[in-house]
Symmetry: C4
Subunit: 279 residues, 4 copies
């Protein structure tokens, strides 16, 4: 869908997923730290969240495929009729298909099935790789700025694919998860930027052959990433600070309870001490 | 062998090997899980399977070399006579040679010899790398579509080489083995696709300079991979489900046997419990 | 700032940081070894050093941004006025911005906050990556030698980004830290070299299209690196030798003390023996 | 030195080093296995071998630098005289310089000094990288075949640099050491091949613009590697087989000795049993 909406839609999805991951990651880490004895099995709560995430991803992918196929000027499921029909829409559908596969992998991983470890991450990495792969051959024979602004997107896409691939091997490594969040947000906002530049809302066309525009866009890309880092940093801090607050509010009640019953349970006190040490 | 058969033959081999690996991998993993006390030495059964695999690989490689040399229009072992003779056939023979070396490494690894760990994986990785290396310089001076369809193959070849190289370091990592299966299947089906496109059976030539054809082929490549993922997923699920079934069918008999003899062997009960937990 | 000073300033910063890291790294390692029982929590002293390093980095980045913006021929904070204003200065400001972010990450890591492990290294790696990324698109449409001398810089920049990225995963690996020092020094001296070549102080212009000059500059780059390795090696040796000396000077006093009081404390003797073994 | 000798000399050095490594590696591994209780500190014998290797490397590098400088048509230490003097020889000297640095690092690592772990491997990796880096810019503006035959060399050089870099992180991994041996042998024989092709001894010039020659040379490179693998395989097998033989010849005497003295030392018998299990 070569218009502003066609870039805003995937942009919104990536932005929301990036935002959500930057909240989920510190939540999970905090939960793990609270458990005395270090990292343990994820509770059912997080498994359910992963399930919902997978279902949403699959649903969005399905919606994306349907939208690309059945928009008024779409191919409506026809592929060949003397010549190839609307290959752009078919390529976008293919991208959505792999995100759908990634969603299904998420769903499978959230159930207690004997799926291989890291399947969800590898399938997300593959989805990002396929997206980048198709974009790479997508942008030939276009004006300079159009080509450049799309190839900058590839940096985020392949960067995300590589870091998510690493996550399949190094699981629950906070930094990688936050990095994934940040490049997802970057991808999201950059899709919007592409929309603003190529299909300007105020009608003022950009000069797509100007070298100065290319230089500005390159720099602008870095600003987007700085903003993405800021967002991830704020989310991480807020979640950490909030969960810490909640625990502090809960603790006095427990201590009062302990005093009232005059029971000194050493094991729970130890846990409390451990919590204080960690903070 | 620049015809349909010349692409169908290696395609068949890669497809069958990919298919076989996607069955062998979950079989091995299930066997390991069944053993109380976690991962242990592979039993003789799997060592023998590896031996057969190695022998087959070496045999196919030998057949491939012979076929490339002694087909009617082959070089019949002659290399130079004023000019180089049938270099294409010689290059294909060289590719087969390295798969033969990989087969020999498999055979060596299946015997209790002091071979360095990961030799079989590294040699397979080298064979794939050499295949990709020769293909890379193979496709110069060809029409656009011919070049593109061969360079897409390189993605599967080098992807397989890289993941198999990783397997030499991270052994028995299910995800990597399944990934290897999937790219092998992809390579297999893509060889067929190359055959269909460049030497169409129905005689309708493809326009090898059309940009639309290139775009379709790029997308088609992703569909092949989606199909490969589906095949690997189905094989994995069927093997896991079947082995679980077989175990469940065996268990009641054991329990009946236990009741009859009124013997309560704690260690075997523990193993049963452990099995139930895992499922 | 396209003049000698504009290259000397960042060169000085990189050189000083490289020099400082090549001193800090062996200091930390020696301190760790001295502790009986191997690696332990860094003492407050090193945490404070990291804090100062972070503050300095942030300060220098701020100064850099201000300098690029408010030099007489700078953009003074204006970005667009019919056309883009002084994009070079804006790009340099962007580079400094990411080093500022890296400085803030250093500061956060030096406090006992629940920041994810390796944040300081990843953010430094990102700063270097952004520097390389902007330089990469910086040097189009320039004479051969200008282009070449800047792309050689990219080898140090991306090499540093990659090794620092690795440090986020493999923490406290001496070799990686020394490598980072060496490429920082290389970058520093190379910035000076660029300044000398493109804005010669004695006024003798270099022929920027000569292939011989390109060949010399390539070789010269290796000499810079050999010099950087020499500097790092000397610093490492001097620090190791000095700390060893200091310990040896302290030890006799302890031994005399032991003899005087005639107390044979086995645990402290063990620690002494352990130290002798290590040396 | 652009003649046959100039390629034969480095070729001989690389070939001999590759050959030596393929013998040293199984020797070390066998020694480690013989020790009851698995891997231990290397004995002084291996430390001394490493010292000799380092001294030889440094000596050869010194000889190489001197030869490049003081051959009759060399620069004799002069670099600039209105124009750059004999840059080719200076570049070769620079390559030798880094192998000299690597030799010095080997020497340092063979002494009980507090050098960072993996220094010898990293410095070898850097030497190979610098070699490849200089070769990369070396081969511009040359005929097709000349360019191609040199860029094939880069595959071995950068492959070796990458695997040796890995060795700095994953120490004593047999497969990586054997791989290093094989690419060193490949580099050695390929230097000879370059000599034979560009400066043919029988005077028959190769057509340096023929695409067929390029195709043959590409394939020939793979044959060289197959030969290198064969050599490494044979050396590994011979060393393993010989050390096993030697141990078997020693054992009966020990057993006879045990019978004679009628002493049954359980610990030595255990060690013997352990050896039999391993074989």
């Amino acid at each position: 869908m070569a218009n502003f909406k066609g870039h805003a839609l995937p942009g919104t999805f990536f932005f929301l997923f990036g935002l959500w991951w930057s909240v989920k990651c510190p939540l999970q880490r905090t939960w793990e730290k609270r458990q005395p004895g270090g990292k343990q099995q994820m509770p059912k709560f997080f498994k359910r969240i992963d399930l919902i995430e997978g279902v949403l991803k699959t649903f969005f992918a399905f919606v994306g495929i349907m939208a690309e196929q059945f928009v008024p000027d779409g191919p409506h499921g026809h592929l060949y009729n003397g010549g190839w029909i609307k290959l752009m829409n078919w390529q976008h559908s293919t991208m959505y298909l792999f995100f759908g596969i990634s969603g299904i992998a998420d769903i499978l991983c959230s159930f207690p099935l004997p799926v291989p470890a890291g399947l969800d991450r590898l399938s997300l990495s593959l989805a990002l790789f396929v997206e980048g792969f198709l974009f790479y051959y997508h942008v030939h024979d276009r004006p300079l700025l159009d080509k450049h602004i799309h190839s900058l997107l590839l940096v985020a896409v392949f960067g995300g694919a590589a870091s998510t691939m690493l996550e399949a091997f190094i699981q629950d490594f906070t930094l990688l998860e936050l990095f994934r969040s940040s490049v997802a947000i970057l991808q999201g906002t950059w899709f919007y930027q592409i929309g603003f530049v190529l299909y300007p809302l105020n009608g003022e066309e950009w000069d797509t052959s100007s070298h100065d525009n290319v230089m500005f866009i390159t720099m602008c890309y870095c600003w987007h990433y700085a903003a993405a880092l800021l967002i991830v940093g704020i989310n991480y801090s807020v979640v950490c600070w909030t969960t810490r607050r909640l625990r502090e509010n809960h603790r006095p009640n427990i201590e009062i309870g302990l005093r009232k019953t005059c029971l000194t349970d050493t094991s729970s006190q130890k846990a409390l001490l451990q919590e204080s040490d960690e903070e």
